[in-house]
Symmetry: C2
């Protein structure tokens, strides 16, 4: 997006401030909910959420980025309400996100999460399965305890169904020889877009927004989610470990088929061919091969085309938002979050 | 329970008829819901639910017993409504049950379920995790699609939280040297009782029953659930494989600490000592050792005492039901189900 540099800085500052505010708002609620309801899954959930270490001792506080709560709050403001009205919704979407993270890490054998060993790697498969289940269930109680009705609960219930479908498709992609870039964005819309859309729709509903607004805000969040996922994919190739907390070229080392890689593989270039050869290689790739593969993705145009696709999704998000005629403060906050989430380095 | 033999036969016939009716009512809904909402998890869910084989080809229809739907329908009748009013609720509780089964089998490494390999054993861990997640999420959409409000959804959301806590406690028991029989029944109340209680409460709510009635019906279902679990434990020691679909003494072979076993271990008898020795034995138990252990559980009084505990829970269930002054047809059906579920051979 062509935004002048000073405006970019201001957007970034606003985005960071909103994430920090969301974190501060949601964290005590999250902890109270988890510790108030869970006994036998408390150590596992507390480890995943960051306030316990692997031995059940206090660790530093929650390490989540609070992306979805921040969207939820800003959506409530955009609908003319105030952020606080959407607190149960913000807690619920964060819990659904943490549910999906614990299960997806296990399924994908991703060993690192938020700069620490993933829950399954630290405390085992049974703990990861049960804690994920508990977090999902607690998301629903976050809404029912707040007296929310069928409309909000219906929105919350749809998101995980779609996310799980997206994850299953992602798993299937890893086994398939060819995946078209378009199939990939459909997967990302389900796996990542559904919950961001849900966060925006629930914030809207909490502030009394009507169904048309909720639908448009769901579309905003969904497109933003795809752009966010592509940003993640770009970081999985070009990100620096000390910032992301994940190994450089980590997606390549485990032969993930993310968008830049799929575009490079489909590019009909010499670099794409060489990349396909590396991907067909059995056994572990050496650090040199991983670095070479990352270089090839760029040379074959995968990075540039993925950036274009990210920008296209971001534009669609902006268009959906504009249609809702959002309240100014909410609009500014949503645009700041959208910018930050798609132009980040971690 | 001292019930004359002809009355027992009649209760059993009624119970079987109710389960069969519940199966016929719920099965098409279950299938429509799963196939209408799932694409990438359809094969896994269809395998677990019985209408597909491990290669995605049609198999015989759903093989579940429909225990929780039958309770839900009968509870609606006991509240003065008709069974059909509680159809979305019956589907929802069956889905929550199937969610817990797919995850618990994985966690407990139980390889057989309903006379076939368990989902994780047939199609792998990722499929079992995702399909379980999907079934849980679909349970909520079963209620929201039917336009149900916060009251029903709150009841539905509480059940999995408690079930997951119960399963985590069960897992912890397997690692502990000593578990008191009282701790065990508390675990069973969470793991098994919570959902049966939820089924009865949701049936009550669907038929317009008030909160007092819903609470009492939840207590009825919860006590019945504990009695049902103890019956399961007894079958895990004395059940015949051709009827249960699980290996004889299967619970012993994997050193499960079920109620009859815990009572035998705590019995301070020579047989209890010998059993403790077998349980402390590292490595796999031979079929002879498993048979010997099963014999010792009986000799140490574990089977008899567990039966008494089952009957005590069943009495508490009856007492809760009586307090609701149930409509006669509903009452008869609930008593028939309660009898069948606690005096079964599979």
């Amino acid at each position: 997006m062509a935004v002048p540099a000073p405006a970019v800085k201001s957007l970034e500052r606003t985005g960071h401030r909103l994430l920090e505010q969301a974190r501060l708002r949601v964290q005590p609620q999250l902890r109270e909910r988890v510790e108030g309801r869970l006994t036998h899954n408390r150590a596992g959930a507390g480890y995943h959420l960051g306030w316990l270490d692997g031995h059940g001792r206090p660790a530093k506080a929650w390490t989540g980025k609070a992306v979805r709560p921040a969207l939820c709050f800003a959506a409530a403001e955009a609908a003319g309400g105030c952020a606080g009205e959407a607190l149960p919704e913000a807690v619920a979407v964060q819990l659904v996100h943490d549910f999906s993270v614990t299960h997806d890490d296990l399924i994908d054998e991703d060993r690192m999460r938020r700069h620490r060993p993933a829950l399954w790697a630290a405390l085992g498969m049974p703990t990861a399965v049960l804690c994920g289940d508990a977090l999902l269930s607690l998301a629903f109680t976050a809404l029912t305890d707040a007296g929310r009705g069928g409309r909000a609960l219906a929105r919350l219930a749809e998101a995980p169904v779609e996310m799980i479908e997206g994850e299953a498709l992602d798993v299937a992609f890893e086994r398939r020889e060819r995946v078209r870039p378009g199939e990939y964005t459909a997967m990302a819309a389900a796996k990542t877009g559904a919950l961001m859309g849900c966060a925006c729709a629930l914030g809207t509903v909490a502030a009394g927004g009507d169904e048309r607004r909720a639908r448009l805000m769901a579309a905003f969040g969904r497109h933003l989610g795809v752009a966010f996922q592509i940003t993640d994919d770009l970081l999985g190739i070009c990100g620096r470990q000390e910032v992301t907390g994940k190994p450089v070229g980590g997606d390549i080392a485990v032969r993930k088929k993310t968008l830049p890689i799929l575009i490079a593989l489909a590019s009909a270039t010499a670099e794409g061919e060489e990349l396909a050869g590396l991907y067909a290689h059995r056994g572990e790739l050496s650090p040199e091969q991983v670095a070479r593969a990352a270089h090839l993705v760029g040379q074959a145009g995968g990075v540039r085309a993925a950036r274009q696709e990210r920008d296209r999704e971001l534009k669609l998000a902006h268009a959906a938002l504009a249609e809702t005629a959002p309240a100014p403060a909410g609009r500014r906050n949503l645009l700041a979050l959208a910018h930050l989430l798609t132009h980040r380095n971690s």
